[in-house]
Symmetry: C2
Subunit: 307 residues, 2 copies
């Protein structure tokens, strides 16, 4: 029987079994490795990581829906025909991202990294993060979760999104075109932005210059948002004291890359918000019932914005 639901992934991936189980109650299912050939003439649904799905999409003439196992679906940009829905993995990264952002802010502001590597008595106390101003670029489910945790710690949190619409949990939200007002007087700036033409180089010298002296910048969205030369300059000349980069235009970052030898700049390995193993089957099952019922999937991307 021709395959209707094609899962692209390794049989040992923990999410594959539960996704197959959920799917085969409704249709014929196959699992293939990314480079494995399969008859795709009847495939209506693809599930997998965007880079693995990208070459399959044009081979599926009956495709109706793509469930990504990642939050970022920029690897599919320009490949998905109109009328095909794409659902990024949503609503499952807030906890991990909040841990990452608050963990790094606290580790730096409370001198934990220094103290962990020092045997001397250091009685000087730290001011901490309470009362500081945090700006979050990207006010979706991930940004909102981070905003909520930061607010609990006494930070004043503002947001940036494409149209400046207000979002619960943010004191104020600014639009992209008011991004300098947004950045004015921030102590901490966090980008969680997706990769779209509108976010290319949005973190530049002019934006960073609006921040308070001693500022901290964190990029855990996509690498395209940051002009690296401007970031390095802001660390060397001010106002930045520290930056943490989790995402890059090329990953893994080359051992000789200029970003690896900048004082105050820390590198993580796109590890800010890994996918909880149980999340993919949960999200897929929820979206599948909407798909089968012919109901709209709220997670489906708006192709006009590219995410």
């Amino acid at each position: 029987m021709a395959v209707e639901l094609l899962v692209v992934g390794g049989l040992s991936d923990p999410w594959v079994g539960p996704v197959v189980a959920a799917g085969q109650e409704a249709m014929t299912v196959a699992v293939v490795e990314p480079d494995q050939a399969v008859d795709t003439s009847a495939v209506r649904i693809l599930v997998g990581a965007p880079p693995d799905l990208a070459p399959k999409i044009r081979e599926c003439p009956r495709l109706q829906w793509v469930q990504s196992t990642w939050a970022g679906v920029d690897a599919l940009t320009g490949l998905v025909p109109k009328g095909v829905q794409v659902t990024p993995l949503k609503g499952v990264f807030g906890q991990a991202m909040s841990e990452f952002v608050l963990g790094w802010l606290l580790a730096l502001e409370r001198n934990i990294i220094t103290r962990a590597n020092c045997k001397h008595w250091i009685p000087e106390v730290e001011a901490g993060i309470s009362g500081k101003r945090l700006g979050i670029m990207g006010t979706g489910t991930i940004g909102s979760a981070v905003a909520q945790h930061a607010t609990h710690f006494g930070l004043a949190v503002t947001g940036l999104n494409s149209k400046g619409q207000s979002v619960p949990g943010f004191v104020t939200c600014y639009s992209n075109s008011h991004r300098f007002d947004f950045a004015q007087g921030l102590d901490y700036l966090v980008s969680l932005l997706p990769s779209t033409p509108a976010t290319d180089g949005i973190v530049d010298a002019a934006l960073l210059a609006r921040m308070n002296p001693g500022g901290i910048f964190i990029n855990a969205g996509r690498g395209n948002a940051v002009l690296n030369a401007d970031l390095i300059n802001a660390l060397q000349q001010g106002p930045l004291r520290y930056a943490i980069l989790d995402v890059f235009e090329e990953e893994p970052l080359a051992q000789s890359h200029a970003l690896k030898n900048v004082p105050g700049l820390f590198i993580t390995s796109q590890t800010a918000a890994p996918t909880p193993s149980e999340a993919i089957p949960e999200v897929f099952a929820r979206n599948l019932s909407l798909f089968l019922a012919g109901e709209p999937m709220p997670d489906a991307l708006c192709s006009e914005r590219g995410y």
Copy 2:
């Protein structure tokens, strides 16, 4: 005119001026350095750090109230006559302590300390702190604040206090005599206990052995609570993976102290929860109006328990 309110501290300490201002509306005030002589025959109120106040107490025959500028008042144990009220500094350390506890847990569990010191790509992801079990010894205002922040991060938080009374923010509270049940299956154990005879050596081999493998212990209460040899053994033989000690029986910790060379053991410098500079005058002014009105001060210690 004889001094009624005696402030012991340096004139450059930022809290001294506002405390004097609040006091001199009601009575005669003097400020002295710790080793400076003064006529104390009419002193009704002492304000200062417990070690500075300790030698003054017996010189104040009319003493009615001691406002400590520290949370810990164990330096006054046995020195304060019956009928004299002692108010530790309360309700101002929750934010800083929450930053310290969550900051260290995140820095360790999200590998921030390792990643901050490494230029390599480390794609292995961390499980984080969500769903872990945290036990807090000491369920007063500081412990409750930590419990609240930890609960926001998805931890299950239980508490230990002398009588096992339930406290909002804790799933369950255990009494000292049920401390092994309390410690059973904990991933993280935090002591915020004051120094009293009842807390001496309460963190011993038998207690630590109840924790889960890979556990983390944090002491930010008082050093007397921990049997150091048992702690070192629990780090070397299990179940502990890490420990963070902020308080010690002798401070600063001697450079050659055995605790300084234990793998997995981190030392901070009684810096977990410093006093916010504006807090002392606020707390003093609040207590002063209660004192002048002859009303009970809720912060006053119960001398029977020693804190």
